[in-house]
């Protein structure tokens, strides 16, 4: 074992890390909570949602903890008024961008976005809501995708590509027009690559990807399978 051990500080606490670990991993190992949304253990981190931004002494810009590697002597701060304001603003923008109606959502009480809102102290949204007219694709026999609730975290895209190996999901369009799509932007039910494994549904943090037949507040996501799957794969020769 030639792993080199680093020492750094997070929120004033001295912690050690194995070279190659990200700030987020080290923080979590040490019980320091940094909010995340697009990050999911078992999938490649992409630093897309910017919820995990942290301040590193000597670095002028904010860095996403999920893709920034720990370095010797690094001084990381995870909770500053600036970070808290940024995180709240990010969550507000997500709520304003699409139509999130928590009260009647199938994922009510089981939603990572809803939890984040509370965690970052978002008591209201300070930017105007957009109210885009987005649809639900329920052509798949077992699952549905509701674009009104999507935050474009890309977990579905990654789990489908990296774990299931089907790469049914992808993104289409840029900026405000960006959508998750199945195959060549065709109805999910007509997708020839989808194996109907349901992994995308369970990694989705909101009520976007759901099992059909679920009533409000009934869509609980099961995430436990992911670490097992990755562990099993790594264990094979």
């Amino acid at each position: 074992m030639s792993e080199s051990i680093l020492t750094l500080s997070i929120d004033g606490k001295d912690v050690s890390a194995v070279a190659g670990q990200t700030i987020l991993e080290v923080a979590r190992e040490n019980g320091i909570a940094i909010p995340t949304l697009c990050y999911l253990q078992g999938l490649t981190p992409v630093g897309a949602c910017r919820m995990c931004l942290v301040e590193v002494k000597g670095v002028p810009k904010l860095l996403p903890a999920c893709v920034t590697r720990a370095a010797e002597g690094m001084e990381v701060t995870t909770q500053t008024p600036r970070l808290q304001e940024y995180r709240r603003t990010i969550v507000e923008l997500l709520f304003a961008e699409r139509n999130h109606v928590c009260a009647v959502c199938v994922s009510n009480n089981h939603c990572e976005l809803q939890d984040l809102a509370r965690r970052v102290g978002m008591n209201h949204v300070r930017v105007p809501y957009r109210y885009p007219r987005l649809g639900v694709d329920a052509t798949h026999p077992r699952f549905a995708v509701d674009h009104n609730r999507c935050v474009l975290c890309g977990r579905c895209v990654r789990v489908c590509d990296e774990i299931e190996g089907a790469h049914t999901w992808d993104f289409m369009g840029r900026g405000i027009e960006c959508r998750v799509i199945t195959d060549m932007n065709q109805p999910w039910g007509s997708s020839e690559t989808c194996t109907s494994c349901g992994k995308c549904v369970h990694v989705c943090p909101t009520g976007t990807l759901t099992e059909k037949g679920r009533a409000a507040a009934e869509m609980k996501k099961r995430l436990q399978f992911l670490p097992y799957l990755t562990l099993m794969r790594e264990a094979r020769p």
Partner: protein, 177 residues
């Protein structure tokens, strides 16, 4: 009498569930009755918009011209305004109509599903605004209390804090939905 908090409660475009949740304080209502004077509320008879209100709770989104005027009038006469519940705070279910044009919404209800006298009501009734909006988009809001509805315990906590002259943080115990 004079040192009681002058409280008003208002319904805009909501379901009255927040007001019902207010009543769900049950026996604690009687406790509150010693500390507050209800000066305007749908559960009582009162004149238009009373003066010198200490606290107004607004339930519902701002959806019609009447809602808008009410919000403005109560703001003018109130020291503190609280957006009371998800509809007031986020627009919630009433804002689901914002994905459609107002005329589409009217037509479904008064033309397509009517059997006789098919017509959109235009006289006496206040017109819908183009969009149902959260209260803070039209007036300044001092306290935001989310929930569909906020449960009675949270309402009691927030009111007790305000009565005691402290500014509560409803997000500590509240949530959307």
């Amino acid at each position: 009498m004079s040192n009681k908090i002058r409280l008003a409660t208002v319904w805009l475009d909501g379901c009255s569930g927040c007001h019902m949740s207010f009543l769900d304080m049950d026996e604690r209502l009687l406790e509150l009755a010693d500390k507050i004077e209800l000066v305007s509320s749908p559960i009582m008879d009162a004149k238009d918009v009373p003066p010198n209100i200490d606290l107004t709770l607004i339930e519902g989104a701002v959806s019609s011209e009447e809602d808008l005027h009410k919000a403005l009038a109560f703001r003018k006469n109130s020291k503190l305004v609280m957006a009371f519940g998800d509809c007031a705070v986020t627009g919630n279910v009433p804002s689901m109509r914002n994905m459609f044009d107002v005329d589409e919404v009217y037509n479904r209800a008064y033309v397509e599903t009517a059997d006789t006298q098919k017509q959109v009501p235009r006289s006496v009734v206040p017109a819908l605004l183009a969009r149902a909006r959260p209260v803070h988009e039209v007036i300044h809001v001092d306290v935001h209390l989310p929930g569909c509805p906020p449960n009675a315990d949270i309402i009691f906590y927030v009111l007790s804090e305000l009565i005691a002259g402290r500014m509560p943080d409803p997000m500590k115990i509240g949530k959307f939905g």
